[in-house]
């Protein structure tokens, strides 16, 4: 069932925004839920998060960080007017809607995309929401939207140094996130913390939050295939029990997550993902000759 791309923009370096006609999702999606996108005939099924939607007009927006083959192919090959082959959803459970009081919602790099609908809804529900975006400066997105949606939006940006690879970026991200979160928690009172982002950085932030004993909700990003509870690829250990993140999550109590297991599982396909990317780059170069 193809879904038409109504609009597309590069919001920042490697951050691509799509507005897509997907009325079945637009009608039902709630903050905290996600969709599975299969963009190409020989493509993967990847989870992405509807950022905004219009139930009447039947569209949703998605923002992808160009990370590997699928997100790169989407950026290169899809134009407004083209169709995405499949968008299944909404999937996963909505984020709990409660009056927590003062909330700190942290998005690291593209994790901020998923923070947006939740933070906005929590604010509307009567919470006092501070959002924190920790990210390389060239990848900062959604600033204006956040400023309108929540009480206070903080950007903790950092510059990319020449010669940095993924490891250096991740290292700096963790350093910045940990320092900023510690600073905020030492100087202010919060009743609830939310994090979305790379699992390693989520774990590091959790270790700080834990010292302050504040409840924390974490949206997890294990590898998914069907996202309907059928395959078990997304399994995570929560409080000693095996859960399927696609139907039991994606949000969980951060205190119960087995972080090291999650980090191992997410990294499992890295060598093959690189292979897929190289294969794609070669094909691209071949095509240009």
């Amino acid at each position: 069932m193809p879904y038409k791309i109504l609009d597309k923009k590069e919001l920042a370096m490697n951050e691509v925004w799509y507005k897509v006609h997907a009325p079945h999702v637009a009608k039902k999606v709630e903050p905290g839920q996600f969709v599975i996108v299969r963009a190409f005939e020989n493509g993967e099924r990847i989870p992405l998060t509807p950022v905004e939607w219009d139930r009447e007009e039947g569209w949703i927006t998605l923002i992808t960080f160009i990370r590997g083959k699928t997100t790169m192919r989407m950026a290169n090959e899809l134009k407004p007017g083209d169709e995405i082959l499949n968008i299944a959803g909404p999937l996963g459970n909505p984020a709990p809607m409660k009056k927590y009081g003062r909330v700190l919602a942290i998005g690291m790099i593209t994790g901020i995309v998923e923070v947006f609908p939740i933070a906005k809804a929590w604010q509307e529900f009567g919470n006092d929401v501070t959002t924190l975006h920790v990210s390389p400066n060239p990848m900062v997105i959604l600033e204006e939207k956040f400023e309108k949606a929540v009480s206070r939006h903080i950007v903790e940006g950092f510059d990319l140094q020449p010669g940095w690879g993924m490891n250096e970026i991740a290292g700096e991200l963790v350093k910045r996130a940990v320092a900023k979160v510690r600073e905020l928690l030492e100087s202010e009172h919060f009743d609830m913390v939310l994090t979305v982002g790379p699992a390693g950085a989520q774990k590091a932030v959790f270790n700080v939050v834990k010292e302050f004993g504040i409840p924390m909700h974490a949206d997890l990003h294990p590898i998914m295939v069907d996202a309907t509870g059928m395959c078990g690829a997304c399994r995570v250990t929560i409080g000693g029990e095996v859960k399927f993140a696609c139907i039991d999550g994606p949000g969980f109590d951060a205190y119960k997550v087995d972080w090291d297991e999650l980090i191992h599982r997410i990294g499992f396909y890295a060598p093959m993902e690189r292979l897929a990317m190289e294969h794609y780059m070669k094909a691209l170069q071949g095509g240009e000759q």
């Binding site: 069932m1 079945h24 999702v25 039902k28 599975i36 299969r38 190409f40 020989n42 493509g43 993967e44 099924r45 083959k69 699928t70 082959l85 499949n86 968008i87 299944a88 959803g89 909404p90 999937l91 295939v225 069907d226 309907t228 509870g229 059928m230 395959c231 078990g232 690829a233 399994r235 995570v236 250990t237 095996v242 139907i247 090291d260 297991e261 191992h264 599982r265 499992f268 396909y269 093959m272 993902e273 292979l275 897929a276 294969h279 794609y280």
Partner: protein
């Protein structure tokens, strides 16, 4: 029967690709009959009278087996006619013969009590059924037959929603469309077919066959909405506002895991994940196809049903050394005999009476071995007639870099959480007409049975279609009154 026939004791064999060749690719293993060979096999059938024929009794949907086999012999001089007549007989009870001919456990069903078995080999009913369906598809005979049906359909003006496009849902949809209902299938995945598409591998059931069956449904006017997850995209309650009846054929897709330490190590797959990556996402064509799968050098598959055989044989095709580990003995293997034989030919090892107790990982969280407890069987039998097994307290550790767990599945969870839907041990509860606790909502296939078979799911689809027809006929009459 006037003509006295000579008994031919031996089965006419179907050509198979040699094991050394086929383990290198995902092409089909069994090549099936030609018309000439099919007629030769058909001639062996004794044409037992339909009211007595044990083969018909053994088939869960009671196909008139001597009836369709007889047509092949009767019209042997006109192959197209012979196949069309035979297909017409089969279609009266079974709309997916290319599939069932390949995947039914014939040895426990139609072929089990075939009378030819008393004097020689039983009739190869499955392969004949498959032949009729394949020949018809290749020559467009099935479409011809379909186009004769379509204009005769009288529109009823009532709408039915089907949840899940597996064999149960597809069959219900086809039958209801033929009865004149306006049918829409809601399917969670991006392709219709259920287990036929994501579970059973290409080398056993080519996906082009399933696609062709689904194409025929579309020609009958059935609408298929993929990417729609009932319980998320739309609820059963909402479907009831739009449709006059609902059929649930959501299957038993939730994999059962082993409750042992280390089960979440990398390299440990459920059979569903492994097979979905390989079949639905075509990981065997990686990196042409984007979805990866990791198959190491040594693979252990835990379990001994059809799913285990499919996983083991798929892994073998990636060049791995594969061992099937089963906690019971050879007599309890539940896979089709043909699959077990094919697995052995392909060099898959079997280890019996061992039960996994721990998965051992390396420092990167990747599995490197499995620790098993040795089991032994008692004389005492359990409720299913299997010998009880107990641990011996002795252990054995086997190295493996990939482990595939194939120990069974539960019904899909998203549906069973529907308010008002009565469920017992995960299975949807139905009455004798397959109606659930919600009026107008029917269910069948693995969703009510737990893991069963394709033909039982289809039988349920057909039975439910009939019951829905009766239910909607009453509704129409009451509406008109």
């Amino acid at each position: 029967m006037a003509v006295k026939r000579k008994l031919i004791k031996e089965r006419v064999p179907t050509p198979e690709r040699p094991a050394e060749e086929r383990v290198k690719d995902f092409g089909e293993v069994n090549l099936g009959y030609t018309f000439e060979l099919a007629v030769k096999e058909a001639e062996r059938c004794l044409q037992c009278p339909a009211n007595y024929a044990p083969c018909i009794k053994g088939c869960p949907v009671h196909i008139n087996i001597p009836g369709f086999i007889g047509k092949l012999v009767e019209y042997r001089d006109d192959p197209d006619r012979a196949v069309k007549e035979a297909l017409n007989v089969i279609w009266a009870c079974n709309s997916l013969p290319a599939t069932t001919g390949r995947v039914c456990p014939q040895e426990d069903q139609c072929e089990m009590n075939c009378v030819m078995g008393k004097v020689g080999d039983k009739i190869n009913i499955g392969k004949l059924e498959r032949f009729v369906a394949d020949y018809a598809r290749e020559r467009g005979i099935d479409e011809e037959l379909l186009f004769e049906i379509v204009p005769k359909i009288e529109k009823k003006g009532q709408k039915v929603a089907i949840i899940g496009a597996g064999p149960a849902g597809l069959t219900a949809a086809g039958e209801l469309a033929k009865l004149g209902y306006d049918v829409t299938i809601y399917e969670a995945l991006h392709e219709a077919g259920g287990v036929l598409m994501y579970g059973i591998p290409e080398f056993r059931l080519p996906k082009s066959i399933v696609e062709s069956e689904i194409d025929k449904l579309r020609k009958l006017g059935v609408r298929i909405l993929t990417d729609h997850i009932v319980g998320k995209t739309v609820t059963i309650e909402e479907l009831l506002e739009e449709y006059d009846a609902v059929f649930i054929g959501s299957g038993a897709g939730t994999p059962r895991l082993i409750n042992a330490p280390g089960v979440n190590l990398n390299g440990i797959y459920t059979a569903n994940e492994f097979l979905t990556r390989v079949n639905l996402m075509k990981a065997y064509l990686f990196p042409e196809y984007d979805t990866p799968v990791y198959v190491g050098k040594k693979v252990i598959v835990i379990g001994a049903g059809n799913t285990a055989m499919d996983a083991a044989r798929s892994a073998r095709r990636f060049g791995a050394e594969v061992t099937i580990a089963y906690r019971r003995g050879p007599e309890d293997v539940s896979a089709r005999i043909e699959e077990v034989e094919h697995a052995k030919e392909e060099g898959i090892k079997f280890e019996f009476f061992i039960n996994p107790v721990e998965f051992i990982g390396d420092e990167n969280g990747k599995v490197k071995a499995v620790k098993f407890e040795k089991m032994k069987a008692l004389e005492e039998r359990d409720s299913r007639g299997k010998r009880k097994i107990v641990g011996t307290g002795e252990y054995v550790t086997i190295e493996a870099d990939t482990v595939i767990i194939a120990i069974g599945k539960h019904p899909n969870r998203l549906i069973v959480n529907t308010p008002g839907l009565k469920v017992e041990r995960g299975r949807i509860v139905v009455d004798e007409n397959l109606m659930t606790s919600i009026p107008g909502v029917f269910a069948g296939g693995d969703a009510i049975r737990g893991e069963a078979t394709v033909i039982l799911a289809m039988g349920d689809g057909r039975k439910a279609a009939k019951a829905i027809h009766e239910y909607l006929t009453k509704k129409r009459e009451n509406g008109n009154a």
